[in-house]
């Protein structure tokens, strides 16, 4: 790779709220929260019933501590159950869904009912503005040309970013139906300076370019890669940055929020700033539900202060995070950080033979092996023992004689880093599934085997 990583401009999208004192920020959050609760109580049968049952009305919340102590946690199945009372949105909606200007829903691939949401024009402008906050912090400016590698369907994905980039004033190239080769061609032809996609797909695009004889770091102009949609280990970030000669900024959102709630700024503090002007983000112990201090891993509870149509209060996201104080970053924002972004999913976390395991730990190791193109993790029960099976697919260019030494080296490295002895299997080139959005590289076969 021949280009040094591009420098990106620095700045705040909203200087005032991004740098306000923490006490002022807490007061702003409380003011918005109380307005949100009053709106929900008035407009949504679901939320009214919930507040009344818990004996906590909008006027009872006098502080953020009150809220955390008294307001019940919301689970995903409670949303889908409420929506099922009168599909698509049931008793959840806080305004007449006829005021919606767009609808999105989760894929429902896990077999559960999808979460369905709509946005009013007010909500959708807010969603785009959250993306603006993140993109601007990464260095995206009106002079940029951005390629968004995303399917533009029912899944919300990068929809908000499309509108945000237009709002910032970028030229946006929506490549919904394009394959990877065409996207590489467009990146070069259009001299794109920003790329938005999942981390997995950024690596796929880099590999495709390599196979086409294109060195994206040398021949391309990308300075910012906006990565979203999956946990993104540090090794993956570095690999993307090297392949594109660009800064790779992490961000994450969810359908339930309709937009992003965190972003990595150009100072790269090793994590992502939480957009605390528009969200209340709590981190709680998954077992005790007690608040986690800075530096302790827990599950994030999300409260959106942004939307009026579909509202979320203390939503159990299943995302594992570690909060750090804002002062750990030199950018001047007063918004706290999630160190390392999303660490993984609580429902993907397993204890294997006494050792805690998350699939992202394997990805960390995989990305240090350039000979490995794709991988899958399986948890299986062998001889009454839980065993981690990792399937690795070598890159096409690797000679077959090198497969077995690769397998052995990789197994040893996983054992060294994870303190687990995996069974590593080789997969034929092209055998393992590829992903554009939401890579799924972990399957718990012990649970699947237990299903009726």
């Amino acid at each position: 790779m021949s280009r040094v990583r591009a420098e990106v401009p620095r700045g705040y999208w909203n200087p005032r709220t991004e740098t306000m004192a923490r006490e002022e920020l807490a007061a702003l959050q409380l003011r918005k929260l109380r307005a949100q609760l009053a709106h929900a109580h008035q407009g949504s049968p679901f939320w009214r019933e919930r507040m009344d049952a818990a004996g906590v009305g909008p006027d009872d919340i006098r502080s953020l501590a009150d809220y955390s102590a008294r307001f019940p946690i919301l689970r995903r199945d409670e949303i889908t159950t409420a929506e099922a009372t009168a599909p698509p949105y049931g008793s959840l909606a806080s305004v007449d869904p006829a005021l919606g200007v767009r609808h999105h829903q989760t894929s429902g691939t896990s077999g559960a009912n999808p979460v369905r949401t709509f946005d009013t024009s007010r909500d959708w402008a807010w969603c785009a503005d959250m993306w603006c906050t993140g993109a601007y912090a990464m260095g995206v400016r009106s002079t940029d040309t951005a390629l968004v590698a995303f399917g533009y369907g029912l899944f919300i994905g990068f929809w908000g970013l499309q509108y945000a980039l237009e709002k910032i004033g970028c030229k946006v190239i929506p490549t919904g139906s394009f394959d990877s080769e065409k996207r590489v061609q467009l990146l070069i032809e259009q001299e794109c300076t920003v790329l938005a996609c999942t981390p997995t797909y950024a690596l796929r695009l880099a590999l495709t370019a390599e196979q086409m004889g294109v060195d994206l770091a040398r021949d391309g102009k990308i300075s910012v890669v906006i990565a979203s949609g999956e946990p993104r280990p540090e090794a993956t970030k570095r690999k993307i940055e090297e392949a594109f000669g660009a800064f790779c900024g992490d961000t994450a959102g969810m359908t339930e929020a309709a937009t992003i709630f965190m972003f990595e700024c150009a100072e790269e503090p090793g994590g992502c700033h939480i957009i605390e002007s528009d969200y209340i983000e709590e981190v709680v112990d998954p077992e005790t539900r007690e608040a986690c201090d800075y530096g302790r891993v827990g599950v994030r509870l999300m409260t959106s202060l942004g939307r009026e149509g579909i509202q979320m209060f203390r939503y159990w996201t299943n995302d594992l995070v570690v909060k750090r104080p804002a002062a750990d970053c030199s950018c001047g924002r007063t918004w706290d950080l999630y160190q390392g972004g999303i660490r993984g999913r609580h429902d993907d976390m397993r204890k294997i033979r006494g050792v805690w395991f998350m699939p992202s730990m394997v990805e960390d190791v995989v990305r240090t092996f350039p000979e490995i193109d794709e991988f899958q993790c399986l948890l299986v029960n062998l001889d009454a023992l839980d065993t981690l099976v990792i399937q690795i697919e070598p890159v096409v260019s690797l000679h077959e004689a090198e497969y077995e030494p690769l397998r052995a080296r990789f197994a040893a490295e996983v054992k060294r880093q994870l303190s687990l002895t995996p069974r590593v299997e080789l997969a034929a080139p092209g055998q393992l599934p590829r992903f554009e959005m939401k890579a799924k590289r972990f399957r718990d076969m012990t649970l699947e085997a237990a299903k009726p």
Binding site: R10, G11, Y12, W13, N14, P15, R16, T17, T19, M20, L28, R31, K32, A35, Q36, H39, Q42, G43, S94, V95, D96, L99, T120, S121, R122, W124, A125, W126, A128, D129, T133, K167, E267, S277, D278, E308, G309, S330, C331, G332, R333
Partner: protein
């Protein structure tokens, strides 16, 4: 480094922003479809500016027909 330049809205810019918002709120109720639609779209954008500056925050669409 401890932060970047922090441009601020002047008092008169803040007042203008609020005035534009109030005007658009009224126009959003216009009976002329094109005017109401344009005002509602613009209102949503102006609201994000007020929200981003911490100047105003409203969940307003429920009042619309």
């Amino acid at each position: 480094m401890t932060g970047y330049a922090k441009p601020e809205l002047s008092k008169s810019e803040q007042e203008r922003l609020r005035r534009v918002y109030d005007d658009l709120q009224q126009l959003a109720a216009s009976e002329v479809p094109a005017v109401a639609a344009a005002a509602r779209a613009a209102l949503a954008q102006v609201h994000t500016a007020l929200n981003g500056e911490g100047l105003a925050y409203e969940l307003y669409s429920k009042n619309w027909k």
